[in-house]
């Protein structure tokens, strides 16, 4: 496995798992209605007391550092579109881990996003 492939795996899997954990934590906190700064501080204070938030941040941290390393190796307009692979992983994870209803229309949209990613990767150089 090349260094680029290993970094891509960390970006996609670490990032997606992290975001799923953060979503779970925010669903525990509940819908945010008040967007004033103090209210937002309280929201994030509550979120930080949910263990899922910490798991999520740690996993996203791994994905972030992998992204930083990848950006030093490749062009940003190549690296960032490749991370669109997280959409397929995200929809699958959202359905399994969060109980979201991923309709055929939503899957179609996600598959188009993935097809777009393949073209973006092939179009490199």
């Amino acid at each position: 496995m090349s260094l680029e492939s290993a970094l891509l795996a960390l970006i996609v899997l670490g990032g997606t798992a992290g975001e799923l954990c953060i979503t779970r934590a925010m669903k525990v906190v509940g819908e945010v209605h008040d967007f004033r700064p103090l209210a937002l501080v309280r929201v994030f204070g509550r979120a930080m007391r949910v263990p899922w938030m910490w798991f999520g941040l740690a996993l996203m941290g791994i994905g972030f550092f992998a992204m930083l390393a990848m950006l030093s190796l490749e062009n940003v307009s190549f690296v960032v579109p490749m991370t669109a692979l997280t959409f397929a992983a995200g929809a699958y994870g959202g359905s399994l881990f969060l109980g979201e209803r991923v309709t055929p229309l939503r899957w179609a949209g996600i598959l188009l996003v993935c097809l777009g990613v393949v073209l973006v990767v092939q179009g490199k150089g």
């Binding site: 260094l3 975001e19 799923l20 953060i22 979503t23 925010m26 669903k27 525990v28 906190v29 509940g30 819908e31 945010v32 967007f35 937002l40 929201v43 994030f44 979120a47 972030f64 550092f65 992204m67 930083l68 390393a69 950006l71 030093s72 190796l73 062009n75 940003v76 307009s77 690296v79 960032v80 579109p81 669109a84 997280t86 959409f87 995200g90 929809a91 994870g93 959202g94 359905s95 969060l98 979201e100 209803r101 309709t103 229309l105 939503r106 179609a108 949209g109 996600i110 188009l112 996003v113 777009g116 990613v117 393949v118 073209l119 973006v120 990767v121 092939q122 179009g123 490199k124 150089g125």
Partner: protein, 138 residues
């Protein structure tokens, strides 16, 4: 009805902030990391030196600030909306990244890559036509 309109409005507003700050953060990080360069080897001291040089760059910090703003908006919208809706809906940011990469960093973007980006946009439109909350309210 009003509550539903408010929910739509705050969802779209936060998505707008996400697709603005996310790409700008990525571009700034890309620009900053290019000046840092590739480490000669991937040994722990070299990796440490690589990250220390990265964190000494103001452009990298601006990028981190933009990405933190993106993360806050993302986290807030996930308190009510589906992850499988928000994540693909935010993919419009990929178009912005390609445009900024092309026009700001002078990176080459081939025709095939532009077609791929257009297909990503169509996918995002389809996802945008689905309900943004399919789970029970907590």
């Amino acid at each position: 009805m009003r509550s539903s309109e408010g929910l739509h409005l705050k969802t779209y507003f936060l998505l707008f902030l996400m697709v603005t700050f996310g790409p700008v953060g990525d571009i700034l990080l890309g620009k900053g990391m290019k000046t840092v360069g590739v480490p000669p080897s991937w040994t722990p001291p070299e990796i440490l030196d690589f990250f220390l040089r990265a964190f000494a760059s103001p452009v990298v910090w601006l990028g981190i600030g933009s990405l933190l703003t993106y993360l806050i908006c993302y986290t807030l919208v996930l308190s009510w909306a589906d992850f499988s809706y928000v994540q693909p809906a935010s993919a419009i940011a990929y178009v912005i990244v390609a445009l900024l990469g092309h026009f700001w960093l002078g990176e080459y973007v081939s025709t095939r890559r532009w077609v791929g980006i257009a297909i990503i946009c169509v996918g995002v439109l389809l996802v945008g036509h689905t309900a943004f909350r399919t789970t029970e309210r907590h």
